[in-house]
């Protein structure tokens, strides 16, 4: 591949995760010959970039680790170095020092350092330097996956600490592998940030049926290696392994040490610029006023916007905040949530609860737009409502019909006009046929010659036979 590296600006990307790799791909699509940008991606993990979202699927055995690798742009203008971490950032000289002793000079820097698992202050979870104690693991990367697979034995007990999306996906994946799973959530109900309590109750029922013991509003007290997790009420949940899925913390250290403004994440504006205009941040490490951390979609949107800006493809591109839709990826459970799940007081809200059928739907609408929805066990309305939410599109007038999904199609006799059509292809009505019958068309063949009925797609043949049979008072003479 020919690249013009003399005039191309150099972009260094710190982080080869889902957002960093996607950014490189987005740049390569806009600038396939590397005429405008040369991109160097640096990743701390030794693995090639992979799809973190599918780690529970790897755990469940649905994917091999190599199945979840992300595409690498096929252009000489993108280079990727794995197993190398950035140690210091000098925004003055625009230089990043790496832990292999080398340094990279940049024209533009993109921080895509992601986030790491946050361990709650529970006794026995981690040593003072943050290293997990024996039996304990997060589920952030492939190394965690491998560790968990080694710790857990089929049929053995595993405890999941944290009943958010990742915890629930991990719990489901572990049951698919034959583990006995206990799940502990300190909030009053599981997926507290995404769904309301009635939905959580029905969801918990699903999990109970799948063999997961759900303990909501319970605080972990102590991890006892080889035994299990002790709760603050003294109960002990047996576990060969403890999976900690109790939230994440943005990786902001590099930026912070360089004097870049940081809150919970690296602060960015609508152009994804940090307080240093040459430094940008995207994905889980970034903090935008519009939110969007923790889910992959906003990170990918940010990657696309930043690629538009840095390649000069679309200089008016802006990231104006996320419209995150949460989809639980758990075999056999269809759960979607978006917006504010508890907007009942400030919005028109329609709710359907069907605990027996394991289904729940809630839709909150303000000014004809979706402001929040929770859908459990209702895949069709879920996808329709998510699209309305994502596009800020107006909600159809019949909210109940929307929540129930589209009605099944009725018989296709709905052409406007005086008589319903028997043969749609040739626009033959029952009246036309009757007139032909009165003129002597007694067989299917004669009817076809007289009216053309049955000669299009052939789908009306049975109906035509039935009509003839009725009028003839006997079976029609079949046409070969």
């Amino acid at each position: 591949m020919v690249t013009d590296t003399d005039t191309a600006r150099h972009v260094v990307v710190i982080g080869n995760g889902m957002t960093g790799a996607r950014f490189a791909e987005e740049v390569a699509r806009r600038d396939p010959r590397g005429e405008r940008l040369r991109v160097s991606v640096v990743g701390e993990e030794t693995e090639p970039a992979y799809n973190r979202v599918l780690l529970p699927g790897v755990l469940a055995g649905r994917y091999a680790p190599e199945d979840i690798r992300l595409p690498v742009p096929e252009t000489g203008a993108v280079s990727v170095r794995t197993g190398v971490a950035a140690v210091t950032l000098d925004t003055e000289r625009r230089r990043v020092r790496l832990d292999d002793g080398t340094a990279l000079d940049y024209d533009e820097l993109v921080l895509a350092t992601g986030a790491r698992a946050a361990f709650p202050p529970v006794q026995g979870l981690a040593s003072p330097d943050g290293t997990p104690e024996p039996g304990v693991t997060a589920l952030r990367d492939l190394a965690d996956c491998r560790r968990l697979a080694a710790l857990a034995r089929p049929g053995g007990p595993v405890v999941v600490l944290g009943g958010g999306v990742l915890g629930l996906e991990a719990a489901r994946a572990l049951t698919e592998r034959g583990m006995r799973v206990s799940l502990v959530e300190s909030a009053p109900w599981i997926m507290r940030r995404q769904i309301d309590q009635p939905a959580a109750q029905i969801l918990a029922h699903h999990y109970t049926r799948l063999g997961v013991a759900v303990h909501s509003w319970r605080v972990a007290a102590r991890w006892i290696p080889g035994t299990g997790l002790e709760l603050d009420d003294g109960r002990l949940l047996a576990g060969d392994a403890l999976v900690v899925t109790a939230g994440v913390r943005a990786n902001t250290e590099l930026a912070e040490a360089a004097g870049i403004e940081v809150d919970r994440g690296v602060l960015v504006d609508d152009t994804l610029a940090t307080s240093d205009p040459r430094v940008h941040a995207i994905g889980d490490c970034a903090q935008h006023p519009g939110g969007g951390g923790g889910l992959v979609q906003p990170g990918w949107e940010q990657a696309a916007v930043l690629a538009d800006l840095l390649t000069g493809t679309r200089l008016d591109a802006r990231y104006t905040g996320a419209r995150p839709v949460t989809r639980l990826k758990a075999e056999g459970i269809e759960l979607t949530s978006m917006g504010d799940p508890e907007a009942d007081d400030t919005a028109e809200t329609v709710t359907i609860a069907d605990p027996h059928g394991g289904r729940y739907a809630k839709l909150s609408v303000r000014d004809d737009r979706v402001v929040g929805a929770v859908l459990l066990g209702l895949p069709e309305p879920a996808s329709a409502i998510a699209q309305l939410y994502d596009g800020r599109a107006p909600v159809p007038g019949d909210r109940l019909a929307l929540l129930m999904g589209r009605a099944q199609p009725e018989a296709p006799a709905d052409q406007p006009g005086p008589a319903p059509l028997v043969c749609r292809c040739n626009a033959v009505s029952r009246d036309d046929m009757e007139a032909a019958w009165l003129d002597g068309a007694r067989t299917r063949d004669a009817m076809a010659r007289a009216t053309r009925a049955t000669t299009g797609c052939g789908g009306c043949t049975r109906d035509v036979d039935a009509l003839l049979s009725g009028w003839n008072g006997r079976e029609p003479i079949p046409t070969p």
Binding site: Y63, P71, E334, Q387, C425, N426, G456, C457
Partner: protein, 705 residues
């Protein structure tokens, strides 16, 4: 007297009997044949009407000055005028100042001779055809995957034996009803933003309807491939033995897990998984694509993604399963094989291949160096007309680009900039009405020729009637012009048999080898599918032993999804998509002149979800203005809950203020140069009183000279 021939319209090419008794209006009725199995839609039933229509042209028309009227002249006057003007423009501006626009409706013989005429008599590289707007994405993807592009690489009746057939962006129940006779038994998975008649059929028969947001089919196909692998349904033996490139293709599909696919397409993740299971569990399955999934600025990659899905399931190149694309125009297949495409020579050869040039030049008796190189693709050609460096003259055969091209107002402006516009047609189409010279030509039932249908099956078109006095065949027109341009008469014969024989020689050894095709074989009732390298050969099923790449393997394509060229915004909040209705064909130049069809579908409509209609203040039956960034269309509102709330649909058979292509976007696919007909951002508003008058005028009359 009743004789068998084939319908003049779509690529199904239904067999028909035409009754042509002296003194009576000719009439058609269905004939038994493997493809239509005795079926015929209302277009076919009424197709003979135009043969005796008072609206057909029977004398050449000439406009001697800009803004003047077209006046009848004799043939010599018309052809002399054209030849003189062409010679003058060529002398002044070079050979590429003259361009040719052909058609997927022309016979193989006409397609071939037109391509030869452009390259030899005109010496221009500037030739392309309306098939660029039809099959080009599927053709490019088919060539990329299999090394050969034949719409269906198997006979149509094979479909009836399948358990499951996935139709991506195809609505045969509406567009080619007799095809449904082969799809009555299989369960169908229909991918279409609209709940079409075909989708209804799927739901009735235990199949599925997946309704993606327009412009997201590629994501859906990637999501299906993902769901196949994630559920352990890959045909790994087949992938290992007969394909290459799976891992690179998978890298892209890996980013499209079903829930992610759902977010972009709106198709529920569970339906994606279920469709993958249904396809994989079938003992015989087919994946078929149509224009809905192909007419996009990423159409080639989208078709590649559907082919990837078929390959992952081990379908192509086996009896009883496969991939195919459903060709649209009557000779959409043959029309793309014999040299009216900007980059091709006869036999599906590449014009930039020295060996291909040498072979064809030898058959033509010219120096290979005299053959021009590749020219502009259809839209680029139309867009360049009359502009700096662009052609100054255009000859149009069997096409109506003033209606059928995207962003049609722009195209009409380009046509108006020409120094000379010539059309050969049998009615005064909207393009002909703009022309300086209109040459009246014979119709389908008045001349001999061969067609290649959607299966790659050779068909014989018969001369059942004598053309009216004053009408000439396209071959005679081409020959007449060629002679006036100094070509020897024998180089451009008017006899279709002679042209077929020459086409055979020119295509010999090419991918689409017709050298063994003869009228005698077709007359004897032989089933002849190309390639036909000798007089005994026929190839009903391709790829059974190997694919057409040098290594014999099919190639997965590493393709990723990208958004459509145009996005919705508050000013243009809806997506418009376009397509066909049962009663009309293509630009409607023919079918809008048939009383029964026009009575059934007299004007453009816009299909709108009731909720979207209510928001726009539009009741059922109201006249709406549909407005895009490029233009506006007037259409009668049809409220239906079969539409998505974010999408409206318009048929493209109507002209002037009712032309759907006033809206469409000419963003082109980088490989196939296919325009993005299927996604335009629009808004809907009630039409004003002035608009109603305009619509009534558009409805009332075909154009006059």
């Amino acid at each position: 007297m009743s004789r068998a021939t084939h319908c003049p319209y779509c690529a199904l090419q239904c067999a028909m009997f035409v009754e042509a008794a002296p003194g009576q209006a000719p009439a058609s009725r269905p004939a038994p044949f493997p493809t239509n199995r005795g079926g015929l839609c209302r277009k076919g039933w009424t197709s003979a009407e135009l043969l005796a229509s008072p609206q057909r042209l029977t004398a050449p028309l000439l406009r001697t000055r800009r803004g003047g009227d077209l006046a009848e002249v004799d043939w010599d006057t018309a052809l002399d005028h054209v030849a003189d003007r062409l010679a003058a423009l060529r002398a002044r501006h070079g050979a590429d100042a003259v361009a040719v626009f052909g058609s997927g409706g022309l016979t193989n013989e006409k397609s071939y001779l037109l391509g030869k005429f452009a390259r030899v008599a005109l010496g221009t590289s500037q030739i392309d055809y309306n098939g660029r707007f039809c099959m080009s994405s599927a053709a490019a993807a088919g060539n990329r995957a299999f090394g050969l592009d034949r719409g269906l690489p198997f006979p149509l009746p094979d479909l009836a034996g399948a358990e499951v057939v996935l139709l991506a962006g195809a609505n045969p129940a509406e567009t080619m009803p007799p095809m449904m006779r082969h799809l009555a038994a299989p369960r169908l998975i229909v991918v279409d933003p609209r709940r079409t008649a075909t989708a209804e059929q799927a739901l009735k028969n235990g199949g599925m309807h997946l309704a993606p947001r327009p412009g997201t089919d590629l994501a859906l196909a990637l999501g299906l491939l993902h769901a196949v692998r994630a559920q352990g349904l890959l045909d790994t033996d087949y992938i290992a033995a007969r394909t290459t490139g799976f891992e690179d293709a998978w890298r892209h599909a890996a980013a499209w897990w079903p829930e992610q696919t759902e977010q972009v397409t709106g198709v529920p993740a569970e339906h994606i998984r279920a469709a993958a299971r249904m396809l994989a569990a079938a003992s015989g399955a087919y994946v078929l694509t149509g224009r809905g999934t192909e007419q996009h600025a990423k159409g080639t990659d989208t078709v590649s993604a559907w082919i990837n899905l078929a390959l992952a399931l081990g379908l192509p190149g086996r009896v009883g399963s496969g991939y195919g694309c459903i060709t649209g125009q009557g000779n959409g297949q043959g029309g793309r094989e014999h040299g009216q495409k900007a980059d091709q020579l006869p036999g599906y050869r590449r014009i930039d291949d020295p060996a291909a040039r040498a072979h064809v030049a030898r058959v033509w008796g010219v120096d290979p160096g005299s053959l021009p190189g590749p020219g502009r693709s259809a839209f680029e050609l139309l867009d360049a007309l009359g502009g700096p460096g662009g052609p100054r003259a255009l000859l149009v055969f069997g096409s109506n680009p003033a209606v059928s091209a995207p962003d049609s107002e722009r195209v009409r402006n380009r046509l108006a900039r020409l120094d000379l516009l010539v059309t050969a047609d049998f009615v005064l189409s909207e393009t002909a009405a703009m022309a300086d010279v209109v040459l009246p030509v014979a119709q389908w039932a008045e001349e001999e020729g061969t067609m290649t249908n959607l299966e790659g099956r050779l068909l014989r078109r018969r001369a059942l009637l004598t053309p009216p006095p004053g009408v000439r065949t396209d071959l005679e027109v081409i020959g007449g012009l060629a002679r006036r341009l100094g070509q020897p008469a024998e180089r451009f014969p008017a006899d279709p048999g002679a042209v077929l024989a020459e086409l055979g020689a020119a295509s010999a050894g090419g991918a689409a080898d017709y050298s063994g095709v003869s009228v005698e074989r077709l007359e004897a009732g032989e089933e002849v599918f190309w390639p036909v390298p000798d007089s005994a050969a026929t190839t009903p099923r391709l790829f059974l032993d190997s694919f057409a790449h040098p290594d014999g393997r099919a190639r997965f394509a590493a393709v990723g999804h990208r958004p459509p060229a145009e996005a919705v915004d508050p000013e243009y909040p809806l997506l418009a998509t376009t397509g066909r209705v049962m009663g009309h064909y293509q630009s409607g130049a023919q079918t809008r002149r048939i009383g029964e069809l026009t009575a059934a579908e007299p004007e453009a409509f816009v299909e709108v979800h009731p909720d979207t209609g209510a928001r726009s203040g539009l009741a059922d039956g109201a006249l709406a203005r549909v407005v895009s960034r490029r233009g506006a269309t007037l259409a009668r509102v049809r409220l239906t809950d079969r539409a998505r709330t974010d999408t409206v649909f318009l048929p493209f058979h109507f002209a002037g203020p009712q032309a759907a292509n006033n809206l469409t976007n000419a963003a082109l696919d980088p490989t196939s140069r296919m325009p993005e007909f299927k996604v335009s951002a629009v808004r809907l508003e009630p039409a004003g009183p002035q608009d109603a008058v305009g619509a009534a005028l558009a409805r009332a009359a075909p154009p006059r000279g």
